[in-house]
Structure formats: structure tokens, C-alpha cells
Subunit: 109 residues, 2 copies
Amino acid sequence: MLADTPEPPYYAVLFSSIRAEGDDGYGEMAARMDALTRVQPGFLGLEHARSPGPDGIGITICYWTDLDSIAAWKRNVDHMAAQDAGYAKWYDGFRLRVAKVERANAWDR
Amino acid sequence: MLADTPEPPYYAVLFSSIRAEGDDGYGEMAARMDALTRVQPGFLGLEHARSPGPDGIGITICYWTDLDSIAAWKRNVDHMAAQDAGYAKWYDGFRLRVAKVERANAWDR
């Protein structure tokens, strides 16, 4: 569930969202995009959480080796279709940020 | 719930965690740390989600103007006490990453 990533530097795409009401194919798409993301070149890891309830926000952080890998995944045709549907019906709002990870710490009991 | 941050560049602290069983003062501490974080110099915004269930991970992303503000918050005495208790009893594992946000997009319906 927590991603074991290599030593920095690497990149993170931070996607925080508020869902619109109703599923409308969202669950199926989310599972498909999760699986598809994990086989892209440059993929390093993924962490996801969504708080329950209508006000709950979801956060997905995806880790990548470099900006070119992020750009390629953004242009993936299946992913582009999901992005279009996201605007059309699945989300009430989102924030998308691309960041360079400079330092990292991992701890497990 | 979604953070409205200024134009990049700025910094993000990504904290992903698995909770240990039981509350044991965690909820109270989390609310206190949330309120305290928001009044720190250099604070820009905070987003948090935690999936329900024993396997649910939590993700908190905190946005800051610069690395000095992050370092100062890390050294805050109340925050240090919370960090110690986190190791001792609240978490089974976590990942902490510091990243420089280079690009950002916001969309609201």
C-alpha cells in the first residue's frame, strides 16, 4: 500500500479530487487506470487514499523516474479517455501537481 | 478541502501512513497538529485523505513556501512530541517525502 521508491531524485504526480455524486462507471475506470499506470515505462509506485462520505477527498500520488514518463502517460489514449470522462462526469474538482522529490524517508514497524 | 495554492514553485511534504490498531489519542493529536500546521510561517495549504478499514492508508500533503519553513515545522516542540508518539504507538509504517512543485493545475466544476 505504501510505495517503496528508490533514492531521490524522482518525480511525483499529486492528484487530489472531489468526486461528483454517483458511480457512473468510475470504480471500473479507476481500477483499470490503476492497473494500466503500473505497467507504464518509468513507473515507480502509487499511493492512494479516499476519505469516506460526500465531502471526502481522494488523493493519488504516482511516482515516476522522469518528466518524459509522466508526459507519455498523460498522452496515453485510454488515459486521455478517462481524463475526458473525469471532466464530464466523475469529478467536481481536482488539483494536479507535478513535483520533484528531493528527500525521502521510510519507516516500518 | 482541496488546497488553493499559488503559482509554482513551492514545496510539498507528502506523508503516507498506515495506522496501528486503536485510537490511543491519535484523533485528538491529528486535529491539534492540523490546526497548528495551518498557523506556521510559510504554510500554503493542506490536503488529507484516509481510506476506511484496517488496510486503509492515509495521505497528508502539506504545501509550503520554502524548505526553511518545512525545517522549522519539523523542529516545532509540539510537533516533535507527536512525531515521537507516532513511532511509539500510532503508526505501523510511513513514507515521508519532500518535493518541489514545478507545475500545477486546478479545476472546479
